[in-house]
């Protein structure tokens, strides 16, 4: 039979269940004979022999095989493969093996790679791959008729339903003990069914019946992992119908996860991830916990799932790092390289002097502060991934022991890069990301409408995976990461950016700003053609692809808010000659800015984008101040929508652990008092009600507790709005400081005048 791979998971003993979506729209459950395994290596033959004796008790069977133990190994060595019929026992087995000898006696591999992924790697399959499959006596026989490199592939028509559950709240906040009010199911075809009659039990069972009738492939929820599905499990139990809460295709009752989730630290922030609620045979997509779906829609989600060989359930919740890891695991597995349980590639020793030279980031040219006219922008395309790919930078290739005299050397540091392995694991994994992105970009240029949007979503999703490649080289939990490779990429970046700037200077351009992979250049009278010519010269000199983004009518590089003469990197905004705006690092781009502020700031920027020159823009400032005043008046007259005034902040601690009384901590406390269980990393939303109040709980109110009686602190909001508007106006006219804008508010109310 032929169809697309929809979902897969293990079943004990020794089975892999695969759901296939057939061409006629039906789904088929297939079972393969397959069991996951871990690998153990030891320097002592006796230790390995001892381990083999544990058969039957700890694992089903074992065999001696040869594999590359480490990515740096030049030959395979003998290791012991332990096959386990029950996937849940993989990690406990590894833990008990590790404990049975002093640490390091056994080296263990492939322990924490999800078995579903390993099944895909071993069979060269990927989710939504179109395959022909036949059931034989030994299990399934796969004939893949799809290509992971393809850009114009067919995605099967998947039936979807969005489940929304309304809680009959007894207090201000929804609690697990509150009954189910109503349940609505919105089909992908536009049909809506609403279950609000009868008892709570009837409504829950009604949901089960509706899901059975609609038989969706995709089930969308908002907050399904953290709240909706665990809440339904608990309500079914309260009504004595736990066993009948069946919404997967397997026929099993829905169960709450053993663990609610985990808090983790990423890029300076504490974040929280709830445990996944999987619906076997269907795909549960929780819109609030799916980064890839949020950033690039269903098409992007499918693309990441296919390219990185991650089951749809996993891909929808995966961080980009997890997606990238899966891609690296696939290539390692294909080459017979084992995946270490605990990464072992240590940083090579460096003296203090060497560390100072090596341990630096990408290059930055400090921006020239203020407003500039006629600046052109050139961006290197996927520079870091391209460096890894073209210069073969990978954990196992940088400073390898086999080719110390290699001709491929890291600039500044003179480190050797392996020549015997012409393509390391990281470059191999990165290749498909870089090349498919380029293919999609070309397809976007020759298509339009829905088709173009589809390619754009897929390219956007791959961009995120590409972004992760660099960070993962230096991440201590990455299986194929190593700081020396990370350092090597930065060293190449510095060389490429400085070389590009020198080419520009030779051609009479001035570097106005440069950061990692982008350059802003200026030359009096330079035309678009001059920039294009320069682009080609830089490409020829550096051998890396660079694109010309356009010439700005005006661009602003902002100073630090603390030191007015000191530039900040990454905060700029400008308008291209074709009217497009580019805004980075300022309030309108930040996720924690209240939407009302972002709207006002963008309205001002759009007005300024209409100006043809800096002079013209300066002439528009009065008009822009008018936009600010109109918004300020809306605030003061309490006409601003309260939903637009919401601040969003991530909790860095659990409520109660905060030492100082910030707005965030007071809001977290109020939510905790309402019975909401919050974890470090979860976001809270609030509206400022009385900023100056001595009582912390009066200063702000959680958005969930906002009702018609809530009155926001108009004065404080106007102050903050003045700061937001000053960011974009002050560079054009020095008297537009936040204080002066506030004076204008007073003046306007008293005298109906504008800023002098």
């Amino acid at each position: 039979m032929r169809g697309w791979i929809l979902d897969l998971y293990t079943e004990s003993p020794g089975k892999m269940v695969v759901w296939l979506k057939l061409e006629n729209g039906e789904t088929r459950r297939l079972v393969d004979r397959w069991a996951p395994s871990i690998f153990a290596a030891s320097d002592s033959r006796q230790d390995l022999a001892d381990l083999e004796k544990g058969r039957a008790r700890d694992f089903s069977w074992s065999r001696r095989v040869t594999r590359y133990e480490r990515a740096t190994d030049r030959s395979e060595s003998e290791v012991l493969e332990l096959i386990v019929d029950d996937a849940k026992k993989l990690v406990p087995l590894a833990e008990s093996v590790e404990r049975s000898r002093p640490f390091g006696a056994y080296r263990l591999y492939n322990v924490d790679v999800p078995p579903e992924q390993m099944y895909l790697y071993e069979n060269d399959l990927f989710p939504l791959a179109y395959c022909e499959v036949s059931e034989t006596r030994d299990g399934l026989s796969w004939d893949i008729q799809d290509d992971v490199w393809a850009c114009q592939y067919e995605v099967p028509g998947l039936r979807s339903v969005e489940v929304e559950v309304a809680v009959e709240k007894s207090g201000k906040m929804a609690k697990v003990s509150d009954p189910v009010g109503s349940i609505s199911l919105k089909g992908g075809d536009g049909s809506v069914s609403r279950l609000d009659g009868g008892s709570e039990r009837d409504r829950i069972l009604g949901l089960v019946e509706e899901v059975r009738r609609l038989d969706p492939d995709l089930v969308f929820t908002s907050d399904g992992d953290a709240f909706v599905l665990p809440y339904l499990v608990s309500r079914a139990a309260a009504n004595g119908v736990s066993e009948r809460l069946v919404i997967d295709r397997e026929g099993g009752a829905l169960e709450a996860p053993a663990k609610k989730g985990s808090s983790y630290f990423s890029y300076g922030k504490i974040l929280f991830k709830p445990s996944a609620m999987k619906l076997r045979g269907r795909v549960h997509l929780d819109k609030s916990s799916s980064f890839v779906h949020r950033e690039s829609g269903l098409e992007g989600f499918y693309e990441v799932s296919r390219v990185c060989r991650l089951p749809l359930h996993t891909a929808s919740r995966a961080s980009i790092g997890k997606a990238l890891s899966s891609l690296q695991f696939y290539h390692a597995t294909k080459e017979g390289i084992l995946i270490p349980w605990k990464p072992v590639l240590a940083e090579s020793f460096k003296s203090r002097a060497e560390l100072l030279v090596a341990d630096r980031g990408g290059f930055v040219f400090e921006p020239e502060l203020g407003v500039h006219e006629g600046v052109g922008e050139l961006d290197f395309s996927s520079l870091y991934p391209s460096i890894m790919m073209r210069k073969n930078i990978s954990a196992e290739t940088v400073r390898c022991s086999c080719c110390p005299d290699s001709a491929n050397r890291i600039p500044e540091l003179d480190w050797n890069v392996c020549e015997r392995r012409p393509e390391g694991i990281v470059p191999k994994a990165v290749k498909i990301i870089v090349e498919k992105r380029m293919k999609y970009k070309r397809l976007e240029e020759v298509t339009r409408g829905e088709e173009r949007a589809r390619y754009e979503s897929r390219r956007n999703a791959l961009k995120w995976v590409g972004v992760a490649t660099f960070g993962y080289l230096g991440f201590n939990n990455a299986k194929f990461g190593r700081i020396d490779a990370h350092i090597g990429v930065c060293a190449w970046d510095r060389k490429v950016l400085v070389d590009a700037a020198r080419v520009a200077e030779r051609r009479g351009f001035r570097v106005m700003h440069g950061i990692v992979d982008s350059l802003w250049l200026k030359k009096t009278g330079a035309t678009k053609e001059d920039f294009e010519k320069l682009r080609r010269e830089i490409e020829a000199e550096t051998k890396f692809a660079i694109s010309f983004e356009g010439v700005y009518k005006w661009i602003v590089f902002l100073p630090s808010k603390v030191n007015a003469g000191v530039p900040v990197l990454n905060q700029y905004f400008g308008a291209y000659r074709d009217g497009r705006l580019k805004v980075r690092g300022i309030e309108a781009r930040r996720h924690d800015t209240p939407p009302f502020f972002s709207k006002c700031q963008l309205e001002i920027l759009e007005l300024l984008a209409g100006a043809r020159s800096v002079e013209e823009a300066k002439g528009m400032v009065d008009h822009c101040v008018g936009v600010f005043l109109a918004h300020a008046r809306e605030l003061l007259e309490h006409r601003a929508p309260i939903g637009g005034l919401v601040f969003t902040r991530n909790l860095s601690k659990k409520p109660g652990e905060y030492a100082n009384r910030s707005l965030t901590s007071s809001v977290a406390d109020q939510l905790a008092r309402e019975g909401v269980e919050l974890h470090a990393g979860e976001a809270v939303q609030y509206v400022i009600t009385d900023y100056e109040s001595k009582s912390p709980s009066k200063r702000a109110v959680p958005f969930e507790l906002v009702d018609e009686k809530t009155v926001y602190d108009a004065k404080r909001y106007v102050e903050l709005l003045a700061e937001t508007c000053s960011t974009v106006l002050k560079p054009f006219r020095d008297d537009c400081s936040a204080e002066r804008l506030l004076q204008a508010v007073d003046g306007e109310i008293l005298h109906a005048g504008t800023l002098a």
Partner: protein
């Protein structure tokens, strides 16, 4: 893993912080000029970083001297 040494921008901020007592000992009217001089170093952070000196103060001192040289040259040209 991650970075072991701080970026030059961070190291420079630390160095400036360490000169706080020097700053406090200055007459009030001199403090703004002192801040301005130290901030001039920040304008050349990339170059100081590229110079890779074991003492962060060396990169800063060169940046300040260079900034002043440029200013002087400008003035004498006028």
């Amino acid at each position: 893993m991650g970075r072991t040494t701080p970026s030059f921008r961070i190291a420079e901020a630390q160095e400036i912080e360490e000169w706080r007592r020097f700053r406090r000992a200055l007459p009030k009217g001199d403090r703004a000029a002192f801040d301005e001089m130290l901030n001039a170093a920040r304008l050349y952070a990339s170059a100081s970083s590229a110079a890779v000196r074991t003492s962060r103060f060396e990169g800063m001192a060169m940046a300040i001297a260079f900034h002043h040289y440029k200013a002087l040259a400008g003035v004498s040209e006028e």
